[in-house]
Symmetry: C2
Subunit: 206 residues, 2 copies
């Protein structure tokens, strides 16, 4: 790898961690430079603008998300197992913090809500792609008769999204010790509700 591309990577790695705690918008060239023992101008040259840096950070986070969440889960058997793997890896990703700043993407989703620009646009595309992936996996699970036919993929995915978001708040803001456990059972219930054969007990299919 080039020397340039190498330090660019070092920068982005640190930037992602930093942005994980101060937010994408709180990310500042000066403190990032000092944290890396670089000059502001030297760092700046890699991205051309602050917006370019933010975009690159987001891009890196999205790439890492694909690598750590999407791709591994795709190795699971199509249908419910794959969908389950996707959601499980998603939760695990959301859980990781410190080492690589937790779910920067989810935080940015709340941060960039109302701030138009290329960064927001990119974020929207990433989120939509991910939720779309989940939705099609859900459709496939229905086609494979793992899920009931009347399961509405959009709503199902939204529920999964809700579990992940609520888990984050419970864990990182409120410090709920049972957050992980609660999220896991919520996911389990979400799947159980959608299944054709109601493995758990005490219910009857339509």
């Amino acid at each position: 790898m080039n020397k340039g591309a190498d330090t660019r990577d070092r920068i982005l790695r640190e930037a992602e961690i930093l942005a994980g705690t101060v937010g994408l918008d709180g990310l500042t060239i000066g403190v990032l430079a000092t944290a890396l023992d670089l000059s502001k101008s030297g760092l700046f040259a890699h991205f051309g603008s602050r917006e370019g840096l933010q975009l690159a950070v987001l891009q890196r986070a999205a790439d890492r998300f694909d690598r750590d969440v999407l791709f591994p889960a795709l190795r699971a058997k199509s249908g419910e197992p794959r969908l389950r793997a996707l959601v499980d890896h998603w939760l695990a990703w959301e859980r990781t913090r410190g080492a690589h700043g937790g779910d920067l993407l989810a935080a940015a989703a709340f941060e960039m809500d109302d701030r138009p620009g290329v960064v927001r646009d990119y974020l929207v595309r990433v989120q939509q792609r991910w939720l779309g992936t989940l939705a099609t996996a859900c459709v496939i699970a229905a086609e494979a008769a793992h899920f009931r036919a009347d399961v509405e993929p959009g709503s199902w995915v939204r529920e999964a999204h809700g579990i992940v978001l609520a888990h984050r708040v419970a864990r990182r803001l409120l410090g709920d010790a049972k957050a992980d456990e609660r999220a896991a059972t919520a996911v389990e219930a979400l799947f159980a509700r959608a299944r054709t054969s109601l493995k758990p007990r005490k219910r009857r299919a339509a």
Copy 2:
């Protein structure tokens, strides 16, 4: 009302709107002052510090939340109706934007995740109080036999929280036109699942 308290209120009203778009941490004394035709120092004097301003904004938002969400819902009949009113008002509050900056509290919950300080501490208290209120309402609904006895209040509230958060992302970031509708049916399903008598159809109680 004092002249001072009056402008202080004007300041906070504007500040809440502004913070709704740029975030609590993006809220800046300079732009807030110019937006209100005040001098920076004049505005500053009202709060003593930037942190004081942030805290006051959060406090105002929490008060408004009580006034617009909590108190009106408390007029509903105890048990499921009241819990339903709480959640419905919550969603409606989350939906309001522009006029008063949407759910500043939820945004702050993601923003302040990892930033210790009085602001974060206050935010935690507010959130915990609200979720606690919901949980006790849920317990009461169970005691009144509106809800099944095996409904775990903490988990139930977490699910409601997830619906609200996912709704916000869908609506404000992704611009989903069906967001409101989806959230409403999700809430309906959440209640239906917890009810003792399964009004909808096609299910049997435990």
